[in-house]
């Protein structure tokens, strides 16, 4: 055991690099995913079929095929069509597109669950389309979508472990190297998993902070967030103050359910909003 720890300490510098690679994948993938999610999420809500149709197809395509398949497809098949990508680019692209498609559903669902009165108020105030989204609808939807995006971010981090198989030296790769060096599977993998756990925790805290900030800007929570709000891992209790304005209980990782629950409520909201727009 003490040998193990010595080897571990000797390998700490490499761990730094490995964490950096994992973080690059995660953050890069998340940024790309956010762009994809916003484009496709708003695209799925437009009235023009030429935008909505393709957006839906792309979303369902990337949600329906597996992340693993997409990852290796980009790595092995794309070069045959003349696009050779760096391993890192493959990782970021695969993670970004896959989780972007999931995120698009979150964006669409959250925008649909902004109460229709808000849309009507915008019409009453004669706000332009850009202004309406940027100043009224999106800030409210943003507070709603953040808990679900936080879950997706953790999923994305977990998916980034695939990068080892496209020859990137990420945390999983480092774990495997540690195993070879110590010949102790239990020790090395426990350390590796703990590293992932810590990264996931830190990311969750960051997202909790963002969520608290978004809610404070909406005026939902009158005071500054407590430390407990920021440090929690799960979505807050729906009964407690300071949860999503809709009061709809957010169910853990269950993005898909939440997304489609929103669909129904959203459909009602959307028709209402449309009526508002037309008048």
């Amino acid at each position: 055991m003490s040998d193990d720890i010595e080897t571990l300490v000797a390998r700490l510098p490499q761990l730094g690099d490995a964490v950096l690679v994992t973080l690059q994948l995660t953050v890069g993938g998340a940024l790309l995913a956010m762009v994809v999610a916003l484009l496709l999420g708003f695209g799925s809500r437009t009235r023009t079929l030429w935008v909505r149709g393709p957006s839906r197809v792309v979303v369902e395509f990337f949600r329906g095929t597996s992340l693993v398949v997409q990852f290796f497809w980009l790595f092995y098949v794309l070069p045959a069509f003349g696009f050779k990508l760096e391993s890192m680019a493959v990782g970021i692209l695969a993670l970004g597109l896959n989780y972007g498609a999931y995120g698009a559903e979150v964006v669409r669902g959250s925008i649909n669950s902004v109460p229709r009165g808000q849309w009507e108020a915008c019409t009453a105030l004669n706000l332009g389309p850009v202004h309406r989204i940027r100043r009224v609808i999106f800030p409210q939807a943003w507070a709603l979508m953040l808990p679900m995006l936080a879950n997706l971010l953790i999923q994305l981090l977990k998916g980034s472990a695939l990068a080892t198989y496209v020859y990137l030296h990420d945390v999983f790769f480092w774990t495997d190297q540690l195993r070879t060096a110590t010949r102790d599977t239990f020790f090395s993998f426990t350390v590796g998993l703990v590293v992932y756990f810590v990264i996931a925790y830190v990311l969750t805290w960051g997202m909790n902070g963002l969520e608290a900030r978004a809610k404070r800007r909406l005026g939902v929570v009158p005071t500054r967030p407590t430390l407990r709000d920021v440090l929690r891992v799960r979505p807050a209790d729906p009964a407690s103050p300071g949860t999503a304005p809709s009061g709809r209980p957010a169910t853990g990782d269950d993005v898909a359910t939440a997304g489609s629950q929103d669909d129904e409520a959203g459909a009602r909201v959307a028709t209402g909003a449309r009526r508002g727009e037309d008048s």
Binding site: E60, F61, R63, G64, T65, S66, L67, V68, V69, Q70, F72, W73, Y76, V77, A80, F81, I154, L157, K158, G159, S160, A161, L162, Y165, F172, T175, D176, R179, T185, F186, F189, G192, L193, Y196, F197, A200, Y201, T204, V233, R234, P249, T251, G252, D253, D254, A256, T257, S260, Q261, E264
Partner: protein, 213 residues
């Protein structure tokens, strides 16, 4: 696409992929059964009155939930060399998803109206009977859509089993690719097969959701 894609090769690999699909579906079904049962147990244990039970349980659940499935699979596979990969795969998938499912159950149980509990107390039902006959039947109805969604998402995560050399659909494609130096047809077809199975299933789940709601 001419000259790159070969229909002959695509047809040649198809039987192997379909064999793999059987393994994929098997792993999903077995994994889901484990996840559904274990998830319920975790959700029930999470309601224990003592902090000495719930706090460690939460830590373990969060740990499993927030670390990569891929690493967990390889970890368990290396730790238990005597156990065949498919068994490890099903169990690890099941345990991983049990941590997700426990959240769904928790939400489902919380969604049972308070009045039901009070009625059970008023009727002087014993605790076990309250759970079995009153609370759980209502809670489980709430959780069915969540169960379906996770079944679809677990189906899409079975390719991770390639790491522990279980020959499911993706591994079959990769082996074929490695032997013939052409990944294009097998990998593309795997993607399409996934879409072919998972998209109709997710539509079904969505229908179930609206019907139960």
């Amino acid at each position: 696409m001419n000259g790159v894609w070969s229909w002959d090769r695509a047809l040649q690999v198809l039987p192997e992929l379909l064999d793999g699909l059987v393994v994929t579906v098997l792993a999903t079904v077995v994994g889901m059964v484990i996840a559904a049962v274990l998830g319920l147990l975790v959700a029930l244990a999470g309601r224990a009155p003592s902090r000495w039970v719930t706090a460690p349980l939460r830590l373990v659940v969060d740990f499993v939930r927030m670390t990569p499935l891929l690493v967990q699979l390889v970890f368990v596979y290396l730790m238990l060399p005597a156990v065949p990969g498919i068994v490890v795969g099903c169990v690890v998938l099941g345990v991983h998803y049990a941590t997700y499912m426990s959240e769904v159950y928790r939400a489902g149980i919380d969604a049972v109206p308070r009045g039901q509990w009070e009625a059970a107390t008023a009727l002087n039902l014993p605790r076990g009977r309250t759970w079995r006959a009153v609370i759980l039947p209502q809670a489980i109805k709430n959780t069915l859509p969540g169960l379906g969604n996770y079944a679809v998402s677990m189906f899409k995560e079975t390719p991770f089993l390639f790491a522990i050399s279980v020959v499911e659909m993706f591994t079959a494609a990769q082996t074929f690719g490695a032997n013939t130096f052409s990944y294009i047809e097998p990998l593309t077809m795997v993607g399409l097969l996934f879409l072919l199975v998972s998209y109709p299933t997710s539509l079904l789940v969505r229908r179930m959701e609206t019907r139960l709601a």
